[in-house]
């Protein structure tokens, strides 16, 4: 059996005895050892993966109750805690941090018999869009290793794309699941804020980020969402999922649905012509599927990147302040140091991008400047929410290209942070407003993937996944050229 199966196919095959969990995990590990030295999706591969798969096989043989994933290999972004192993956030600061607890999503997956195959690479503390800011070296795009895989959940997208697992969990603060999903031609979902527990996700900008699944197929993402969503006592911001089955009726279609094209994200300056062309082709596909498509202008979109960076840096400045060399950082002799001086020493453990954002984060909420930056950003956020909610009174879905540009080569944007930040323009709106959004592979242009993004209103994941599934059914993506 090929590794390029969907999650649903995998489960069927294991159920029918065509393959054992152990065999599939072994093949997956082989794939990792064959490709990951060059792709570098993984920071850590689970030594016990085979053993865990064997235990699932035993359960199947003994006709015991088996969890929904039947030993399916799933990878986890390395800013999500898995008990007993390292959770590094791709940072020197946490290179030896071993979490004494499982993130809620991790215990959910474990209890449904997923095999957690390994921890995936990311931009340090999830700040970046290329994985170039990983302290342990970047991941490479399987479609062309000279190109970045996107980020910050680059390792997750690469692992799914390169058949080094079936699905993955990433985190999305401003597009960190959708951006690499688009760049690596996989499906990536950013759920409604609060639908998935963040307990165990190392915070970057806690008021807007979510854990989200990546998979090769829309239905795989729906299946994972079934098992990670819902209220969690350990995360006060979570909401009920009302036992929604995101997988059932996924093929319901979108006939008669109203789709809005967000003008500010879908044309004009800053948008790559090839991306634009591909996107407008997808518009015709939606129309062909029976949807009514219309343009809509969202005036505030042009302020979203600035708003996003003000809010996220302010929160990052607070969230990362605990890394102070008292508990995390250098193993240093504190003799002769005044407390505050070893904070500045600890800060040298952070890479360039994290440092940049920490400095900004100290500034934007500070006395005398908060009004000019933080409070203004909060105002834009709340106005944007109103604008979006008004748009959803008219439309079922809002669409755009996921990323306005094609994947680019390593080093291309490193020197120009502003240009890099603008790659977020189409993805940050979902985070600022809390609505769900998904990136679906649409086309490969000159060997480089292009994804289409669909937004739905708050907690409308079921319909969102139906729309994504409809689009997926009309696209034909070639095999990844490994």
């Amino acid at each position: 059996m090929s590794l390029a199966v969907s999650a649903i196919e995998y489960i069927d095959n294991v159920k029918n005895g065509n393959i054992t969990a152990e065999e599939f995990t072994a093949k997956t590990l082989e794939q990792i050892s064959k490709h990951d030295s060059s792709l570098h999706a993984y920071l850590l591969v689970n030594d016990n993966a085979l053993e865990q798969a064997r235990l699932v096989d035993k359960k199947i043989k003994a006709k015991e109750k088996v969890g929904a994933f039947y030993g399916m290999p799933i990878s986890i972004k390395d800013n999500i805690c898995v008990k007993g192993g390292k959770t590094t956030c791709a940072s020197k600061m946490l290179q030896n941090f071993v979490a004494p607890y499982d993130a809620t999503v991790v215990s959910n997956l474990k209890s449904e018999d997923a095999v957690l195959i390994g921890k995936t690479n990311l931009d340090e503390f999830a700040m970046g869009v290329t994985t170039e800011f990983s302290a342990f070296g970047p991941s490479r795009n399987p479609w062309n290793p000279d190109y970045v895989p996107g980020g910050s959940s680059g390792g997750s997208a690469v692992s799914v794309s390169a058949l080094e697992c079936v699905a993955s969990l990433g985190s999305d603060t401003g597009g960190s699941v959708r951006n690499p999903a688009s760049f690596c031609s996989v499906v990536g979902l950013k759920p409604t804020y609060g639908l998935v527990s963040r307990y165990g996700l190392v915070s970057y900008a806690n008021s807007i980020e979510q854990i989200g699944p990546l998979g090769r197929r829309v239905e795989d993402v729906a299946l994972v969402l079934n098992h990670i969503s819902g209220k969690d006592v350990n995360d006060n911001t979570t909401v009920e999922n009302h036992n929604t089955d995101y997988l059932s009726e996924i093929d319901a279609g979108i006939k008669g649905k109203k789709i809005g094209i967000i003008s500010e994200m879908s044309k004009g300056e800053g948008l790559d012509k090839n991306v634009e062309n591909a996107f407008w082709k997808s518009v015709s596909v939606f129309e062909g599927l029976g949807a009514k498509v219309e343009e809509i202008s969202l005036d505030l979109v042009k302020f979203t990147v600035a708003t996003y960076y003000v809010l996220t840096t302010a929160e990052a400045g607070s969230n990362l302040s605990r890394y102070d060399n008292l508990r995390y950082g250098y193993d240093m002799d504190v003799e002769g140091y005044e407390f505050k001086s070893y904070i500045s020493k600890a800060r040298k453990n952070f890479g360039r991008e994290v440092t940049r954002r920490m400095i900004l984060g100290g500034f934007v909420p500070s006395a005398g400047f908060a009004g000019k930056y933080l409070l203004k950003a909060l105002k834009v956020k709340s106005k944007l929410k109103k604008e979006i909610s008004k748009a959803f009174s008219k439309f079922d879905f809002l669409i755009s290209p996921t990323v306005p540009i094609l994947p680019f080569k390593f080093g291309e944007k490193m020197r120009d942070p502003l240009a890099m930040y603008l790659a977020d323009i189409n993805t940050v709106t979902a985070n600022l407003t809390g609505i769900p959004a998904i990136s679906v592979p649409f086309e490969i242009h000159n060997g480089l993937p292009i994804g289409v993004q669909i937004h739905a209103n708050t907690l409308q994941e079921k319909h969102l996944l139906q729309a994504a599934y409809s689009l997926q059914s009309m696209t034909k993506i070639p095999r990844v050229p490994l």
């Binding site: 607890y101 006060n236 911001t237 607070s318 302040s321 605990r322 102070d324 508990r327 909420p365 006395a367």
Partner: protein, 466 residues
């Protein structure tokens, strides 16, 4: 002008503000009462203790505060080794009233002390210094306390004198104990900083004050210092000063600390909590009776003298004991025994904790006193035994012969003995009947207070005059 910032731990809660570790950390050895949440491990999130919200609201209500429709939490960002996340989750009214209470007051001696704001927040951990804190070589951190629910009460600068501050803190401490939210006698459970200024001058904040006793002193010192500067035309600067416990003076802190910018941001991990009026009303109804209402009731319903009622009602431990022990008809006598005898016996928190006395003891004892079977003096002696051993009243009576000796034959024998031994005193009593009390005293000595004084006196008079 003097204003206060009082921190009070909600020690009666089961768990910390954001996790299930114990709110009362004192029984643990260092860094045991901790979990991933309260030491702020990466990935952990605060889990708001709803009971803390309820209890803090009752404090706001008891201090006549307004409670907002919704409360929010904020992060106060600053680096300090006792702060696991390097920010403290607290409250303030940054975007309108979102703190748990505001605009309250308590009245002391006819003067209203206004409460500006009440906020619910987490206590940091504790630093343990080797030697004097300024010159310490080693600082150790104990996170057992980190995350303990804390209520900060900020007053307006309404105090006229250090004495008023002391009275206020006494009343506040009784009030918090009476509410059942805190045990203010626990070490570190209640702490206060003071803001002091004179004649509209700059405000000086005094921190690091260990006890309320020292607080009064520190304020007094600070007022004197400022007045002395003023009289010599030296400018008073707005600053933070620390109380030096050894030298009993305030000293200026390093200027850095006062300029700290806390970069407050909303705590996004805790959604705004709606305090719907139904819940607040329910909490209000379930609040224990207030001290002044208790006092009025004691005077009105039981005829207890005002002064006794005052002492009894303001102490939760004793008023609880009183309420359980009395059956209305014996209320006055029970109040008496508690305030005149028991309070002297159990006067520290350790003694309270060790005391074995129950309300039944008190009821039984008062019944014996009221029926004339035991004297007040014997009752007092019995109390000592009860507090120490917890033996039942009947057991003590049978063991120590505590019963009042009202058997005249037996008493007559003892009186005869005394007459034999004290011949000169007997003679004196014959000449001057007032000195007969000396002889009665001798009988009381011999009977260890068990003789009934009135009967003894009557028999003496009979025997001497015959």
């Amino acid at each position: 002008m003097i204003g206060l910032e009082i921190h009070c731990q909600l020690t009666r809660l089961e768990s910390k503000l954001f996790c299930s570790c114990k709110a009362d950390y004192r029984e643990f050895s260092t860094n045991i009462n901790i979990c991933p949440v309260c030491i702020g491990l990466p990935g952990t999130l605060p889990r708001l203790n709803q009971k803390a919200v309820e209890k803090a609201t009752t404090i706001a209500l008891a201090l006549n505060c307004q409670t907002p429709k919704k409360i929010a939490f904020f992060r106060k960002n600053y680096f300090y080794p006792d702060l696991p996340k390097n920010f403290q989750i607290t409250q303030l009214n940054l975007y309108g009233p979102t703190s748990i209470g505001e605009k309250g007051k308590i009245s002391i001696e006819g003067k209203d002390i206004r409460i500006r704001r009440i906020q619910l927040e987490e206590d940091p951990g504790r630093l343990i210094y080797e030697g004097v804190s300024e010159r310490t070589q080693i600082t150790l951190v104990d996170y057992n306390r980190a995350g303990t629910p804390l209520v900060e009460i900020v007053t307006e600068p309404d105090f006229d004198s250090p004495r008023q501050v002391r009275l206020f803190l006494g009343i506040l401490s009784d009030l918090l104990e009476n509410l059942g939210v805190s045990d203010p006698t626990l070490e570190g459970a209640m702490r206060a900083d003071a803001n002091v200024s004179i004649d509209g001058g700059p405000r000086v904040e005094i921190k690091n004050i260990g006890s309320f006793y020292d607080l009064e002193k520190a304020i007094h010192f600070e007022l004197t210092r400022q007045e002395s500067l003023k009289s010599r035309d030296i400018a008073i600067s707005q600053e933070t000063r620390h109380w030096d416990d050894k030298r009993k003076i305030t000293i200026a802190s390093r200027s850095k600390e006062e300029d700290e910018d806390y970069r407050y941001i909303l705590e996004g991990d805790i959604p705004w909590v709606v305090l719907d009026s139904q819940s607040v009303e329910k909490w209000r109804r379930n609040m224990p009776e207030g001290i002044s209402s208790k006092k009025e009731r004691y005077v009105r319903d039981y005829g207890i003298p005002t002064q006794v009622a005052d002492v009894l009602s303001s102490d939760k431990y004793y008023s609880d004991l009183f309420e359980q022990a009395h059956n209305k008809s014996n209320a006055k006598e029970i109040a008496n025994i508690i305030t005149t005898d028991l309070m002297g016996l159990i006067d520290t928190r350790e003694k309270r904790e060790q005391s074995k006395i129950t309300s039944k003891h008190l009821a039984d004892l008062v019944e014996l006193v009221n029926s004339g079977k035991v004297t007040r003096t014997s009752a007092k002696n019995a109390l000592q035994e009860i507090v120490k051993t917890g033996k039942s009243v009947s057991e003590i009576v049978s063991q120590t012969g505590l019963g009042k000796i009202s058997d005249e034959v037996e008493l007559g024998k003892i009186i005869d003995e005394v007459i034999k031994e004290e011949t000169s005193a007997v003679q004196q009593a014959k000449d001057n009947p007032q000195t007969i009390n000396y002889l009665v005293g001798k009988v009381m000595q011999k009977t260890k207070g068990n003789a009934d004084p009135a009967t003894t006196l009557r028999i003496f008079k009979d025997k001497i005059s015959s």
